[in-house]
Symmetry: D2
Subunit: 256 residues, 4 copies
């Protein structure tokens, strides 16, 4: 089993279900069950256990991408949810070795998620014209050891992309309809694309452009995640659920 | 860009949107727009175009996992959908290098999907007590070049698993409640698990066992995928949608 | 208990769950379990039982509105579903004594449903510019004994309505955005309105007009009905469900 | 148009969208836009307008059932939602003249809602073994002028109902499975029934009893209401929605 290294982002969990996601550094972390000496986790095996100064057990673990997305990355801008990104990965054919161009970078969360699945031979080129986002995303992918796989660029989408023949194009920008034709030059024949937008008006705007383009397999979908209370004798969905995140527009780039 | 090789599973697509997923062999494939000489695709670049004998363009492409799951793999048994598997991948933390134990193998679809994301350093041990399923799954993972990553075993879950310290445990069996305590011995501390079942009764049965086990982060969820008609001026969901596939039970194995 | 009268629309049901909805006339009705002499139901008590000529029991009953909508009324045009109409009734405050203006009449299904709930003191004025629809709707409300409560008018919505001070306005037309300001003159202060449209574009078009009008309590909603298989030991939703019927726009007419 | 009378429950609404539901009495009602002298609404026409002491317009209106349910009735116990009750009304065939037996009374909200649709010739017999609920429900139906239509009884369901030949039976109790066979003696042949329960376990328990009973048209369903933000240029569902209220079990009582 892997051992925790200084600088890793790890999850720490108490028996009462409370958990936190922290960078593993030589410092103390305070909780309602006492202080945790994070240093003790360094070189400890994944899944290992230490004690707070009050004698409560604390487990360390590597977080899943779902936890990284929902709990570790600060939600400065609206972000796609694990439910959406998981579907997008299978739908767009994200896998080892693919070259992805993405715009905008935003929090860097999609770049990070995609980087987990493209392997050492894959590459993500992510564009944003806002320097502060790009810098933050750069730091994020470095933090998770994905620096080699993700190239963060500060540039405006209206100038198109430097790369050609991407396997996959992913857009998460406000007015994608104005840039589609231009940026699609960077997508290889047969490549797939994904666009996420929060409103139905934006979906219509994108589809209107697509109707002039003869693309293939254009689909619009949304994913709803419904969680259940976990009492075996009283199984029922939670009273409240997330009602909407984004619409997902996907397709393949054939020019007949 | 990659070139198609004999033996690859490729997608072929006509302008009218019809597509098929076939093994690339030196043979002819008949369509309503004429015959396609598949041999012409061998050594052609991904996204390349040939003509049917009636002069219609045909594109070749590597299918996404979504297409492989929904269109290429025969649905002999109920299968999890891309919407579910995508979420499961992010939720369980499936990524390069992880060791997964799965039961049952079924069609092999989940083994195949997981194999795409564990990389060359990861491994999937998949169990089934039905020889015919195991053989078919073995053939499937070979077909997609994932033979090294997936170990198919014919064995009964009631005997437990040979491996220990799995990062992830995934169960898709009829009565998981009877085997949970036994097979959880193969899951490392801090490891994650996923169980999919189609009925609420099964969810309750599983939760009842979990209530005796002090697991962490137990969640039950379901994923709904809603597709929209892609007319920009008349955007609306399809009249009919998939109303249910499976409930997804997940959690993490801490023993406090 | 009420007795069936000649001319009533009744439901007849066999033990195997097959049911039909027919006008009660002195005639024979053929089924796979033998012929039913409908005449025998006349003057029989509601819930009564007769035999087919092959000796199978057949029950007679008065259909619910849900059954009338889904099974008796022919679906010549897209119709609102019981799930939608039930919500609309409670949302718009449809009850005894209210005056409703509706456009268009369509199949007459909403006029009929509303007529059940406005009582003898209520009234529905329903407009359509297509004579064939109006005639059919007129026949429908007569068939169910609601002639006194429903006034069918052949007229174009662009000319507005003859009536004033309606309690409730209900629009089920293609381009409601063009007529809203005009027809709202017929809605009393504090009156409620409902508009149903199938596409998001139409919802946006209507809201755009509303944004110039200072209406109160404007809401847009949709209702999803999910049915479950009724096996107690294997409870689960049906694989397939209705994914969309209409968006429902409602509000109240205050002029501040 | 109707005039407001002392003792009516009315809605009052300010321009900013704030609204309240109050009993119309000779008193003052304080708001953030000044005091409202409710007395001024007495004998005023429905939809009429008065001024606060600070000069802001206030409209009076009769609330819809949706508003009565959601905003006026105190939610001491879990209640069915308008989305559910609307569907139930059409599904069970609630209309003028029907005789309904209900248990338990709870807040009285379903009795009140049903009373609006059974007319002067219909009747609702509602049972509860908790005196405090019965008294409160009695007061509620009186408040809305439905005293003649609703008979509130303090009795235990295990003793069955006094009435026979009900058109409709409605159960909202914790363990309906124990009482179904007994209370179904009070339902006429061909009568309809509705049972609401919050958990899947309860649905299974009820279905298990039904499987011994040869009922007709047994259905299990749930209703999801999804609301949209009403910005015409940015149409999208709300981020958060109600994820669950109750499962609805319905059917018809034929004894073949």
């Amino acid at each position: 089993m892997k051992k925790f290294k200084e600088g890793d982002v790890i999850g720490i969990s108490l028996k009462d279900g409370r958990k936190w996601f922290v960078k593993l550094e030589k410092r103390t972390f305070g909780t309602h069950k006492g202080n945790i000496n994070l240093t003790e986790f360094i070189d400890k095996e994944e899944g290992g256990k230490i004690q707070t100064n009050l004698g409560h057990s604390v487990y360390g673990f590597y977080p899943s991408l779902e936890e990284i997305i929902l709990y570790y990355i600060k939600r400065n801008t609206q972000i796609a949810y694990p439910k959406d990104l998981g579907y997008i990965i299978l739908k767009l054919g994200i896998k080892e070795g693919v070259k992805i161009i993405e715009c905008g970078t935003g929090t860097g969360v999609t770049s990070l998620v995609f980087s987990y699945f493209v392997g050492a031979s894959g590459k993500i080129y992510t564009y944003d014209n806002r320097k502060e986002f790009t810098e933050k995303a750069q730091k994020l992918v470095e933090e998770f050891g994905m620096k080699e796989r993700v190239v963060c660029k500060i540039a405006d989408i209206k100038d198109g992309f430097d790369e050609k023949d991407a396997d996959i194009l992913f857009l998460d920008i406000k007015e994608p309809q104005f840039y589609i034709e231009k940026v699609f030059f960077s997508l290889k024949p047969g490549g797939t694309f994904g666009i996420i937008v929060p409103t139905t008006n934006q979906v219509s705007d994108v589809l209107k452009v697509f109707e002039t383009m003869e693309l293939s397999d254009v689909e619009v979908s949304e994913i709803l995640l419904r969680k259940y209370k976990t009492n075996s004798a009283r199984l029922r969905p939670y009273d409240i659920m997330v009602g909407h995140t984004v619409y997902i527009i996907t397709g393949r780039n054939f020019v007949f």
